[in-house]
Symmetry: C2
Subunit: 296 residues, 2 copies
DNA sequence: GGTATTTGATAGGCATATCCTATCGAAAGG
DNA sequence: CCTTTCGATAGGATATGCCTATCAAATACC
């Protein structure tokens, strides 16, 4: 039963029998049969059947919610038993917005030393992808914005408030003092792609300052942005935490962006499932002790 | 997997391999094998093994919590799909304290008419048994005291406040006006057994009024108490709601018990599992609309 | 103290479920 | 019109689940 629910979740996620089967490490006929059996056992159609996958029925949608719960709890059970057996161990799968990637090392620093058997897997994703992956049990926790878009049924631990700086090559005229958002009208900017929440935040502040931007360079990667700043004449806007790591040398500099002195809360997000698995509980505890926003 | 978890729950409840197997409709070797496989899959011992069942290990205890969650959710999934298929239907298993048995008909009255395919099964239990059966998924909801003993992780809907009357044969000298608890010192009382919370409540009020009682007749059934009142010379103490149904004829009468005018809240109790299954949600809704204690 | 009973584990055998490979038919794409 | 994609179906090997029968240890009883 639980295996079939896993396959059902995979099917809903991949929207494709073949890919879902591959993701589950079974062949396509096996997954097809599993879905059919699930439908027989529950007595309802879960998937619209044509010659191809055509989405979930309303019952399928409701069943998916339960399936996620059941499968998630079953994994929690297994994980907790493994921890009972061999101490904190296992994989902790994180997805992180690009501008918070440097914060991961703060989280893992003490954690990795205290729990050497816990392995981290970190991937860079958009905030929307992070929420969807949390729902689909593809990751155990995420690092994303907490104060902008609706999050759903999750536990959150605020970590810090993002503040923004303009990053440009050393000697750039704007680097001499705080820069207003409205000063950026004629600056050549490279920015994250618009599917990134960070970009939408920046767009909003720029537009509120009456500035229209159409960056020639967009990327999903902060590294790409910074290397364009270093190697060419672009400037970029980054959260302080994301920029810091690049500011060690003399190549580039940064100044705070003011009017407004914008700030957006970033933190850890995890599925809310009482009780938490030991590994996740430990990570949340670590995040709380690290938080700059205890009272948030 | 889920089947094995069901067997594990049964074993924890019955504390006996053979009985647990019978309860699950399998033979004892099947259940033994299932538990062993569960232990193998989880990699931990769940049950202390001697020549007989000797309780759960700490890991077993934790696993039991998850197992209840998973099995309960799986049942919810199945029930919800059945409701999607054929409308509100299925069994609703209730356990009720004896003094609230007459209230069940208030709950079922409108409900049964609106949902003819829902069958009720009602059993009379102590409040402690009700809570334990809720935990073990043996019942779907209970009717018990809400304001005395700790309830655990449950949803409650208060229904009414129990108030107490003295019930005695017509013509009994005490029936002429309100009776104080302290007036009962020399009255021959028959009462519920001390494992019933109602009896403990009554004991407490009597003892606070300085009255010691050692009833010659004790029973788990209100019917037994009332028939002793009718046929012999005993009196008894009952909540109004439990007494009403017997007061139609002229054989017996009742008077309020005062000083104190004691009151204890009785209501519906159900496992807290979001979202509720449709049948349970409908019952809770019915209970809320019926409640005399909306603001409680 | 010796016998009977209770309790859970083990062994062997059968039925069923599961998962694979190979193939098919319908729909979509070019 | 041909090719590709996608999911369903068929057949066979393997694994799992559950049963009956039996055993060994512990306990209860005379």
């Amino acid at each position: 039963m639980i295996d079939k629910l896993e396959m059902f979740i995979a099917l809903a996620r991949e929207e494709h029998f073949g890919r879902a089967a591959a993701a589950q490490g079974v062949t396509q006929p096996t997954l097809s049969a599993a879905i059919k059996q699930l439908e027989d056992q529950l007595g309802v159609m879960l998937v619209w059947r044509g010659s191809r996958y055509q989405g979930l029925t309303p019952e399928g949608q409701r069943a998916l919610d339960w399936a996620r719960r059941i499968v998630g709890d079953a994994r929690s059970l297994r994980q907790e038993m493994r921890v009972a057996r061999e101490g904190l161990s296992g994989d902790l799968r994180l997805a992180v917005i690009p501008t918070a990637l440097t914060v991961v090392s703060d989280l893992t620093a003490g954690f990795g030393a205290a729990h050497p058997n816990v392995r981290f897997s970190v991937q860079s994703k958009t905030s929307a992808e992070i929420l969807s992956m949390l729902e689909n049990l593809e990751i155990d926790a995420g690092l994303t914005y907490l104060d902008n878009e609706p999050l759903g049924r999750v536990t959150t631990v605020p970590l810090y408030a993002e503040r923004y700086v303009l990053v440009a090559k050393s000697g750039h005229p704007l680097l001499n003092g705080p820069v207003k958002w409205s000063d950026l009208a004629d600056v050549q900017l490279c920015l994250l792609t618009p599917d990134m929440q960070n970009r939408r935040i920046i767009n909003q502040h720029l537009s509120e300052a009456g500035v229209e931007v159409a960056p020639q360079i967009e990327s999903t990667s902060v590294v790409v942005l910074v290397s364009h700043v270093v190697r060419s004449n672009w400037a970029t806007i980054l959260p302080v935490r994301a920029a810091e790591i690049f500011l060690k040398g003399d190549d580039i500099g940064s100044v705070p962006l003011i009017e407004p002195d914008a700030s957006h809360v970033v933190g850890l997000v995890a599925p809310h499932r009482e009780p938490f698995t030991p590994v996740l509980a430990a990570l949340l505890e670590r995040a709380r002790s690290l938080s700059e926003l205890k009272g948030y």
